[in-house]
């Protein structure tokens, strides 16, 4: 897969200015720990986000393996139900808020300035602050596991009154941790919007931006719209728990269902916050390895925007069995089904990009192709779940667990891995070990499907989610899922190994590490120097 340097850059300025070799005019950065604590450089902060997210991915993964080990066979063998509930809750919270979201923010930090030709993020010091909030938030969250009464045990959706009146004492800390993580996301989003809107290279219009930048821009708007709602909900919980109000308690005139409305008003857009940047990544990688421009760039942008808009109108499809009136059930069923249209457009565009391309199968491409197939399977089960009458049978079963894991693991997580393999040459100056990456890929694909495909069946057969023990007819499917989970979990060690090896050495990568790649980031040397684009490049539209 030796990539050949094409003769021309899409840029006018020379590589030397882009390299911007650390001129002596730059003040000497502090060394050691302090350097990382105080850094305002988008690349270093991006790396911090990615490393943090990787650690959290493993912590959340260990929780998942505790769950799967207990569910390996019927009966209670390893943990008690109380701890099991804490594990399901923590697994969800950590994976959503500490693994997937920071990973995307990390990629945004690294790549958005490089892709739009900006020297750094718009607000570098704020950037540092929003990263360092995360370790604080999640140390606090994890510490609740050791508090008297245990950590949060009410599921990552923390429905009231289980999470208010009936919650363990540590819930106040859970709320605080979520507030801090929320502030971090919000600050990150403001920074990304400010960067994209104001710091594009001269000549680069909005409709010239790589799709990763576009999807992140839309994601950042979603974050700004819904993170304050989450903050509002948890503030109400805090008041119900500590100050005697009753927002969510019927006893004082409140309503537990109101909690669910508010939560899912945040929660559904949140789901898209975790998938839109993945769409962007895949839309950047597939054209590269198909050596052909992305099919339907404008429709990709419009589809992403319509998915984001629709996400505000579908929240109650998570609540089909709480006793909504018929009119509401119908409205939310129709609006949810409608999401299939822009999502379909995206999938068709990716496939048409492949059509009549010149396709090679390096690891980033493999992960992206697996994304397209497996995300689509998750989309199909999503369509089934949208059918409200059928959802009366699917709701809160393992069918739902299968659905959202298909869109989040081989969806969001695979896209993140594809992005890492894709941009590692730019970050480290070395290609990752392709053999290792292929092993990682195939084991992950087998592991993921072995874990989550049988869950469709256990759910349809009647197994509810969030139970530590189950009736005997679900035993076979659960055993398969557990085996798959351990396979998937341990294969991720190969990923870490691959990344570590790549940082330490490997085949040298040129500035344009992939033959078919042509976005701005491939015009700066590999590894990208600490400071890039200090003189803005002049963007030249590629002429196909």
């Amino acid at each position: 897969m030796a990539p050949k340097l094409p003769p021309t850059y899409p840029l006018e300025h020379s590589a030397t200015t882009a390299a911007g070799s650390q001129a002596p005019t730059h003040h000497a950065p502090p060394r050691g720990l302090l350097r990382w604590l105080l850094t305002t450089n988008h690349k270093e902060i991006g790396s911090l986000y990615l490393i943090f997210s990787l650690i959290m991915f493993f912590i959340g993964g260990i929780f998942a393996l505790v769950i799967r080990a207990e569910l390996f066979q019927p009966g209670l063998q390893l943990v008690n139900p109380e701890f099991f509930n804490q594990m399901t809750t923590m697994h969800g919270l950590i994976m959503v808020f500490a693994a997937v979201m920071p990973a995307f923010t990390g990629l945004a930090n690294w790549m958005i300035p490089l892709q739009i030709g900006a020297p750094d993020m718009a607000l570098p010091r704020l950037n540092n602050f929003s990263f360092w909030l995360l370790p604080v938030a999640f140390t606090l969250l994890l510490s609740t596991l050791f508090m008297p009464g245990g950590g949060p045990n009410f599921g990552w959706t923390f429905y009231a009154p289980l999470s208010t009146t009936y919650a363990p004492p540590s819930t106040t800390f859970f709320i605080l941790a979520l507030h801090i993580a929320g502030i971090s996301s919000i600050l990150g989003a403001i920074n990304i919007i400010a960067t994209i809107l104001n710091m594009r290279a001269p000549g680069m219009r909005m409709m010239d931006m790589p799709l990763f930048v576009w999807t992140w821009l839309i994601t950042a708007f979603l974050l700004i719209a819904v993170m304050p709602v989450l903050a509002g909900v948890i503030t109400m919980m805090l008041m119900d728990i500590n100050f005697g109000t009753s927002f969510f308690s019927a006893a004082g005139g409140g309503d537990p269902v109101l909690f669910q409305h508010l939560f899912w008003f945040f929660g559904h857009p949140e789901v898209y916050i975790m998938i839109l940047p993945a769409f962007g990544i895949v839309s950047v990688i597939i054209p590269t390895f198909a050596r052909k421009p992305l099919f339907g760039y404008p429709s990709m942008v419009y589809a992403t925007a319509s998915i984001a808009l629709l996400s505000f109108m579908v929240w109650a499809h998570h609540m089909f069995v709480v006793g909504l009136p018929l009119a509401a059930e119908l409205f939310f069923m129709y609006s949810t089904m409608l999401i299939a249209v822009p999502t379909g457009v995206k999938i068709f565009n990716w496939i048409t990009t492949l059509f009549r391309g010149s396709i090679s199968f390096e690891s980033p491409m493999l992960f992206s192709l697996a994304f397209v197939v497996l995300f689509t399977i998750g989309g199909f089960s999503g369509l089934m779940l949208a059918i409200s009458p059928a959802d009366f049978q699917y709701h809160d079963t393992y069918f739902v667990v299968a659905h959202f894991h298909y869109v989040l693991v081989p969806g969001a997580v695979f896209a993140i891995m594809a992005a890492v393999y894709y941009w590692l040459p730019k970050w480290t100056g070395h290609y990752p070990n392709e053999r290792l990456a292929q092993w990682h890929f195939w084991l992950s694909v087998i592991g993921v499907n072995l874990t989550f495909f049988p869950m469709h069946f256990s759910g349809l057969a009647g197994m509810p989610r969030r139970i530590p023990d189950y009736a005997l007819q679900f035993a076979d499917f659960n055993m398969l899922s557990s085996l798959g989970a351990f396979l998937f979990g341990f294969s991720q060690l190969l990923f870490v190994l691959g990344v570590v090896l790549c940082v330490r050495g490997g085949k040298k990568a040129p500035a344009q590490a992939w033959e078919g790649a042509w976005d701005l980031e491939w015009t700066v040397p590999s590894p990208a120097p600490l400071h890039t684009f200090e003189t803005p490049p002049v963007f030249k539209r590629p002429t196909p």
Partner: protein, 371 residues
């Protein structure tokens, strides 16, 4: 460490004898008209997805195979085609409309509010179900009957492990039964797949659903909404009977209700109260306070050696009768009769070395509740 070892050994044994239980991997067709329709919808949409999947993935894998770089494929350069894009936006829209029509019809049917022949109130409690036949003076609590020893692995699994109860909900076939659902504490969800009824029970609010069963039989389900520690252990068993059989059962059950409440006016012996109390404790209280009364603090306080319980008899009685607001301790005045209340209080005052030696008479409780 011992439990880990036991886990490894039993797992390997289990692995070799497994695969006998795989008797279902699809949604059941169920035994009501609605459940049949839902099953039909489910299968229709499933096959539509399969067909779309075959076309989409077919095109994808064809391209991947046909246009390999390694086979010297030269890439084309097209990147838009308006007709095609309009085509694949409208076709899915039409397919969706095709799905929405039957789905709307089924949903409308599920929301049918016509008069029912029987009303049953279903109340979720941490972690049991209570059924009240409205206007019939019949009400009872349905607890999981799987012994805890099976869950912990000290005994082998029974046939209906975790899906068996001490008293099932009995319903007639061919009659419209309306369910009114609510909860005493957190949100639960009452679900029996064969009946295609899944409905959240929400504290302070009432939800409605209905069922008209076509075939007699025993149908099993369980709570579907996370409701705390024993969420996995609140099964539902519905026993659907021929109408005549059901009517006979109802008469019999009413008589039994009267028998159970009998004896309020007489003086009870200590042993009698203790024996009855132990039964009540095991079926109702042990899930939280544990069978040795050791509890699971901080959520579930210990009863054995509980100083306040031993010293303050009045407080003890009041707590059992009226419950504690905002905890899993319900007001048992609503669900237990005076004999059961008196005996369970007596039992907890004297079991596991509490040995207060005093007893509570059913007549005393009845007087408190009669005012």
């Amino acid at each position: 460490m011992r439990s880990l070892w036991r886990w490894i050994v039993s797992s390997s044994v289990f692995l070799s004898i497994t695969s006998v239980h795989a008797n279902g991997w699809n949604m059941p067709r169920g035994v009501t008209d609605v459940s049949g329709e839902i099953y039909g919808l489910h299968m229709t949409i499933f096959w539509i997805c399969v067909v779309i999947g075959a076309v989409v993935f077919g095109a994808m894998f064809y391209s991947l195979f046909r246009y390999r770089h390694s086979k010297g494929a030269k890439s084309a350069n097209f990147h838009e085609h308006t007709t095609v894009e309009i085509f694949w936006t409208t076709i899915p829209l039409l397919i969706l409309v095709g799905m929405a029509v039957p789905a709307t019809a089924t949903l409308t049917k599920m929301y049918d509010a016509s008069e029912a022949d029987l009303d049953v109130m279903i109340i979720g409690q941490q972690w049991r179900w209570r059924y009240e036949y409205l206007g019939e003076e019949v009400a009872f609590t349905s607890n999981m009957s799987t012994p805890r020893a099976q869950i912990s692995g000290e005994e082998g699994f029974g046939e209906h492990y975790l899906r068996e109860v001490d008293e099932p909900l009995v319903l007639p076939i061919n009659r419209k039964v309306r369910f009114l659902m609510t909860s005493d504490d957190v949100i639960h969800s009452w679900w029996v797949p064969e009946l295609a009824v899944k409905q959240d029970t929400i504290p302070g609010f009432i939800n409605e659903n209905w069922v008209n069963i076509n075939e007699p039989g025993i149908y099993r389900g369980q709570c579907a909404e996370l409701c705390g520690i024993d969420h996995a252990f609140m099964p539902i068993v519905v026993h659907a009977m021929e109408e005549a059989e059901f009517d006979a059962w109802m008469v019999e059950r009413k008589e039994a209700m009267k028998q159970e409440a009998l004896g309020v006016d007489r003086e009870w012996e200590m042993q009698e109260l203790m024996a009855r109390g132990e039964t009540v404790f095991e079926s109702i209280c042990a899930a939280c306070h544990q069978s040795e009364g050791q509890g699971a603090p901080p959520a579930f306080p210990a009863l054995a050696g509980n100083a306040r319980l031993i010293e303050d008899r009045e407080w003890h009685i009041q707590t059992v009768i009226n419950g504690v607001s905002g905890t899993a301790m319900p007001a048992f005045r609503n669900t237990l009769n005076p004999v059961e209340l008196a005996s369970v209080v007596t039992y907890t005052r004297n079991a596991w070395g509490n040995d207060t030696g005093d007893s509570v008479q059913p007549a005393d409780i009845a007087r408190r509740l009669a005012q």
